[in-house]
């Protein structure tokens, strides 16, 4: 119980680089990093042996790890696609731009929508049933309708990714508002808040943890739908690249496309998490003290 007189001499926790170094050092003393390396090596080894070493039936149809990596890092690729060809980046940039647009729209619409739904019971009563009616329809089922409603290649693809991401963001934001303890509303009201104070000082910050959990899921869902849409329709983009190289039987390029997708998807979710941590210092610090 530190509240008597221990306050002035508080031990500062190391931050930034010093903390990272310290964490690394302690981690290296345990078995975990070695076991993890072993795990990855085991998996890659099995993959190599099955496909390239022993050439087991069925497996030999797939490109092996050595083949994929050499192609990926080859300045003069055999199948026309590697880290050194501009076409590769064309596909990556197109997909990322689509994600940026659709995730941006979905967040810009979904977060305010969810906040209002949580804040006003009447608004929620009128909007929630419509949302719940449309939500069980899988995004893929919207593909033909999207192509009909929007002309061209670009808009339908963006529409599909936006729709998927919008449902997730809205619902999680709503859940976030619902999760705020009643006592905070009571306290704020007793302290003399007007409606707009409650919205900006209680509803918005209180829902933030759920909003960011939702955004992380939503960016994943956006990638999921984007790939689906790009595979069915569209030119350019990583989903298209995968299907196109399948059609042209350039399987190495197909696997490169899959791995690139994995990386971009992972990176985007990390970015969302970092932004969230920046915006929720209060939560981060409390969690750090609990040792999480």
């Amino acid at each position: 119980m530190s509240e008597t007189n221990l306050t002035p001499a508080r031990i500062e926790r190391p931050t930034g680089l010093a903390m990272t170094m310290h964490n690394w050092k302690t981690a290296l003393k345990t078995q975990t990093p070695y076991l993890m390396t072993f795990g990855i090596a085991l998996w890659l080894g099995a993959y190599y042996l099955f496909v390239e070493g022993w050439e087991l039936p069925r497996f030999n149809k797939l490109p092996g790890p050595v083949e994929v990596i050499t192609e990926w890092l080859n300045p003069d690729p055999d199948w026309g696609m590697s880290l050194f060809t501009p076409e590769y980046y064309d596909h990556v940039v197109v997909s990322c731009r689509r994600i940026l647009i659709s995730f941006g729209i979905a967040t810009g619409v979904g977060v305010p929508l969810g906040l209002f739904m949580g804040w006003s019971k009447i608004f929620r009563d009128y909007t929630f049933p419509i949302l719940e009616t449309l939500r069980p329809i899988p995004i893929l089922a919207w593909v033909p309708l999207a192509i009909l409603m929007f002309s061209g290649f670009e808009t339908p693809v963006i529409f599909l990714a936006t729709l998927a991401s919008l449902f997730v963001t809205t619902l999680n934001t709503l859940l976030g508002v619902d999760s705020i303890d009643d006592d905070y509303f009571r306290a704020a009201k007793s302290l003399g808040s007007k409606k707009h104070h409650i919205f900006f000082h209680i509803v918005v910050p209180g829902a933030l943890p759920f909003i960011f959990t939702g955004l992380q899921i939503s960016v994943g869902v956006a990638w999921f739908s984007l790939v689906a849409a790009e595979m069915v329709s569209g030119e350019f983009g990583l989903g298209y690249l995968i299907v196109d190289s399948y059609m042209n039987i350039t399987y190495v390029t197909m696997v490169i496309g899959m791995l690139t997708l994995g990386f971009t998807g992972w990176a985007s979710s990390v970015i969302v998490r970092m932004v969230g941590n920046r915006m929720m210092q209060w939560r981060l610090r409390a969690l750090a003290l609990e040792g999480r």
């Binding site: 306290a187 009201k189 302290l191």
Partner: protein, 279 residues
């Protein structure tokens, strides 16, 4: 602010009844309960868990409606048959059972919140005043921290400061020290007594800890099990300012023994009923 306070903050609860209506089944939480609390008095409410103490507080604070009866604050009607739910206002400040400091604001921002939203002070003026008041309560150098970063005792104290900055007529405390160990509790008690001696604000304090009730209160109201009503009121004539030595005085022990029996009886009744506590 300490001069005029003694003349305000009188609460009068008259024939209050509250029936909760979950799923159309009537559950009577409070039955025809009357209680007069004088201005500047510390009134402790003691009773078994889930008996309806919080229902009284909810009625005064305006969180819930009342079914029958009236509540007055300084002869002004808070709620009654004509308006079943009192308006929430900064004249009655609540300190919640689980604490309700906004976790996304620093302690200073929390304290400054009331004057700021009421438009009494500008944001930086409010923050400055908050800093002073926190320092007064011995929380001077943690004002920039978030509630999640300080001990529960500090957070509770900051919550009381957040209430006091609004210069309330009544302080409503709902078992604020429930989850604390007895050592921390004793520190909290001294701090609260210090605040009371300074401000003489009326305090309505719910607890189930008898010693706490007698140590802090001018009067201790013991409630029956649900449906709750006042069973007995004990006057505590121990002079103020009270300190920790009071706890070992004979007068104190005698009062504890006197009340214990009444409370124990109700506790047994409540336990045998085995009901799940109402919120």
């Amino acid at each position: 602010m300490s001069d005029s306070v003694n003349s305000r903050g009188a609460i009068s609860i008259r024939n209050l009844t509250k029936i909760y209506d979950p799923d159309g089944v009537n559950v009577m939480a409070v039955d025809n309960c009357s209680l007069e609390i004088a201005a500047g008095e510390v009134c402790m409410i003691v009773g078994p868990s889930g008996c309806g103490k919080t229902t009284l507080l909810n009625g005064i604070a305006g969180f819930h409606s009342v079914t029958e009866g009236e509540i007055y604050l300084d002869d002004e009607l808070l709620c009654g048959p004509s308006k079943p739910k009192a308006e929430q206002g900064a004249d009655r400040m609540v300190v919640f059972q689980h604490g309700a400091l906004f976790p996304w604001k620093t302690l200073a921002e929390n304290v400054a919140y009331g004057p700021m939203v009421q438009g009494v002070l500008k944001k930086n003026e409010a923050l400055e005043k908050a800093g002073h008041m926190l320092a007064e309560a011995g929380l001077g150098d943690v004002g920039h921290k978030y509630p999640g970063e300080v001990s529960s005792g500090m957070a509770r104290r900051a919550e009381i400061v957040r209430a006091l900055i609004n210069d309330p007529k009544v302080l409503l405390l709902d078992e604020p020290y429930r989850a604390m160990d007895s050592l921390t509790k004793s520190i909290m008690h001294e701090a609260l007594l210090e605040v009371y001696d300074r401000t003489k604000v009326t305090i309505f304090f719910i607890t189930h800890d008898l010693e706490e009730a007698i140590f802090l209160g001018d009067r201790v109201a013991i409630m029956t099990t649900r449906p709750a009503t006042i069973k007995k009121i004990v006057d505590v004539k121990i002079p103020r300012p009270r300190s920790y030595e009071t706890l070992s005085s004979e007068e104190f022990r005698k009062l504890v023994d006197e009340t214990k029996e009444a409370v124990h009886e109700e506790a047994i009744k409540a336990f045998e009923a085995g009901e799940r506590e109402l919120a």
